[in-house]
Symmetry: C2
Amino acid sequence: MSEPAAFQSLAEGSYDEPFAGIRRYAAHGERATLLRYTFDPGAGFPSHHHPQEQITLVEAGELEFTLAGETRRVSKGDVVVVPPDVPHSARACFDVPASLLAVLSPRRDDIGAVSIVTSP
Amino acid sequence: MSEPAAFQSLAEGSYDEPFAGIRRYAAHGERATLLRYTFDPGAGFPSHHHPQEQITLVEAGELEFTLAGETRRVSKGDVVVVPPDVPHSARACFDVPASLLAVLSPRRDDIGAVSIVTSP
């Protein structure tokens, strides 16, 4: 793995669409990966898990976030800490778009290298 | 260190003021710490370094960010990856407030435990 660039951007460049209505932008350090997800209204990210810890921060909108079977409505400024290997999912409310940030540590090398779609 | 709470907030609750015009909110996981800094116009965070890697994301405003002696103007969506122990500083431009997020990994236990000021 090459050394991460000191100056990157989460606002431009490439993204992928892991699920319908969800775009994912990635920036990588050596130790952690910072992701921005944008959700169209009503878009959902199905339950999944990964070995990385995930610290999630809601940037805008409202979502239903389910962590280990417990669902809460979260909005701007709310943080959800997802321990390693714990199932979680998120769905944006139907009236407005939403966005959230996710810090994965250790870094997740499979995002940003596969299935990248260049931003129009 | 106790297990981090699953649901936290970066928008409310407690913060500290490490330097004049700069407020810092913290959320902790096991592996990483997520910080939000708000800068009054012109406020500056002097050069410093720490053993954690820092992934920085500008949320709003414009700042001059200096990394290892190189200064760049950064704005919303820009990312700066600060390797461990590399000196860095930031100053908000004089016309508008700014805010940025900083992901520190591994987690930084000395923030959020000392010098906390309760939000009014």
